[in-house]
């Protein structure tokens, strides 16, 4: 009898999911759910709604796994995008109150502890990316990724030319990438 696997490589995971292997799916959930949940909470501003979104998203992943291919990037990216899109749709359809959204846009100190009401992961020695991010970058990422505003909406809100929106986006991600690279030393 084959020894029970506790670890899946990405390609194994994909093929097992395509085979409708529930154990592989459980593995996927265990590894991806915390980040997905956190991101969705930040988007929709409510844990209750976030749970619905996460549930919907994982079921979508299970049902449409054959649509994933490596040219789309990593499996996690694909799953995260499904969740984010579902969350944004929920955000728009539910018309969640602005006050709730303001909380999630708290730019003061985006520490992990702000978001967690339950279990808190201890990241001893882990540098706070958010603290090191420049406000202008944080804002762009928040508005685009967590709020889902269009390029023209952002140009309006920030009173910048439409063309600059793309440049700002690039700057933000380049800065983030460099920041993350330097963190890889520990």
């Amino acid at each position: 009898m084959e020894k029970e696997k506790t670890f899946f490589s990405e390609s194994e995971l994909v093929s097992q999911l395509q085979n409708k292997n529930t154990k592989a799916f459980g593995y996927l959930y265990d590894n991806y759910a915390p980040t997905i949940y956190g991101v969705v909470v930040r988007i929709v501003g409510s844990e209750e709604i976030a749970q619905d979104v996460v549930q919907e998203s994982f079921v979508k992943v299970w049902n449409s796994i054959t649509q994933y291919s490596t040219e789309k990037g990593k499996l996690f990216t694909w799953v995260l995008n499904i969740a984010r899109n579902t969350a944004i749709d929920k955000l728009r359809s539910k018309e969640i109150k602005q006050t709730q959204k303001n909380d999630s846009l708290n730019l003061k100190a985006h520490k992990k502890t702000d978001n967690s009401t339950q279990q808190m992961s201890e990241y001893i020695g882990f540098k706070e990316i958010m603290d090191k991010m420049k406000d202008e970058h944080k804002i762009i990422i928040d508005m685009m990724y967590f709020e889902g505003y269009s390029q023209s909406e952002i140009a309006d809100k920030l009173s910048i030319p439409l063309g600059t929106v793309k440049t700002r986006a690039r700057n933000a991600l380049e800065y983030l990438r460099n920041l993350l690279k330097s963190d890889w030393n520990f």
């Binding site: 409708k20 292997n21 529930t22 956190g38 991101v39 990593k74 985006h110 269009s150 983030l176």
Partner: protein, 261 residues
């Protein structure tokens, strides 16, 4: 369009941050398919976003997983629970396994019977071998005896006298008497004289030069048998007597031999 320009335009970032329009999305995907540098840049930016996203990690309630697992099981009746690859394949595998088991079970029963048979045959052969070994021992003893006898008679001290069978009783038959006067040992052998019927035995007589007939004793047909020894025998006579012999010759004379010294 230059690749570097395209990368620096920020369209990839818009795409990664999820707000590219449908046309822009299609364009980016097409460019990534065509140009590996663009694909690499895309994946790199996505990796940064993935890591950024993990900053917001938050443990969902445990019940959420159960709900989701139940959902997918409800949606997929053939979902495989566990490490097996595919529902149908698993089922076929089970059937195949059971079939194989039954086949092997039958096979085992057959082979068990064969084994038992072989064990029986082995027992028989073993007994036969014991018999053979016993026979072998007997033959070895006989052979040693013969060797002994032959080595004895190569000694010139043993004077040999050949007895010829009586023409009317035992034509073309012979007997040999081996006589060692020094040691006073004598032997007789014949297997060419007719084998005496049951109840009867050949007896050897020695005629000495004083004309007295001496009883040399009965002997076994076909066996090298010791007989009584006398000084200076002139003639040997073999008669057929009753088993055990007689003090005085009664029976038919079968062979006679003159001692030539």
């Amino acid at each position: 369009m230059k690749i570097q320009e395209y990368i620096e335009s920020g369209i990839l970032s818009i795409y990664v941050l999820g707000i590219a329009s449908d046309e822009e999305q299609k364009e980016v995907e097409e460019m990534a398919r065509q140009y590996p540098e663009i694909a690499d840049e895309l994946y790199s930016l996505q990796a940064s976003m993935n890591e950024y996203a993990s900053q917001f990690e938050m443990a969902p309630p445990k019940s959420l997983k159960d709900k989701i697992m139940q959902n997918i099981i409800d949606e997929t009746p053939n979902a495989t629970i566990g490490t097996s690859k595919n529902g149908k394949i698993f089922q076929y595998g089970m059937v195949a396994s059971i079939a194989l088991f039954l086949v092997s079970l039958l096979g085992n029963l057959y082979f068990y019977n064969q084994w038992k048979q072989t064990q029986n045959d082995l027992a028989i052969v073993r007994n036969q071998n014991i018999e053979i070994a016993d026979n072998q021992k007997v033959l070895e003893t006989k052979y040693r005896e013969l060797e002994g006898e032959l080595s004895m008679v190569q000694n010139p001290a043993y004077h040999i006298t050949y007895l010829e069978g009586m023409k009317d009783m035992a034509p073309q038959s012979y007997a040999a008497v081996f006589w060692n006067n020094e040691k006073q040992q004598a032997y007789i052998f014949t297997n060419s004289l007719p084998k005496p019927p049951s109840g009867k035995q050949y007896q050897l007589w020695a005629l000495t030069d004083d004309n007295i007939v001496w009883d040399a004793g009965v002997f076994h047909w076909g066996k090298f048998t010791p007989v009584k020894c006398f000084k200076k025998p002139q003639k040997f006579i073999i008669t057929l007597e009753k088993e055990g012999g007689v003090p005085k010759a009664e029976g038919q004379a079968y062979a006679v031999g003159v001692v030539k010294i």
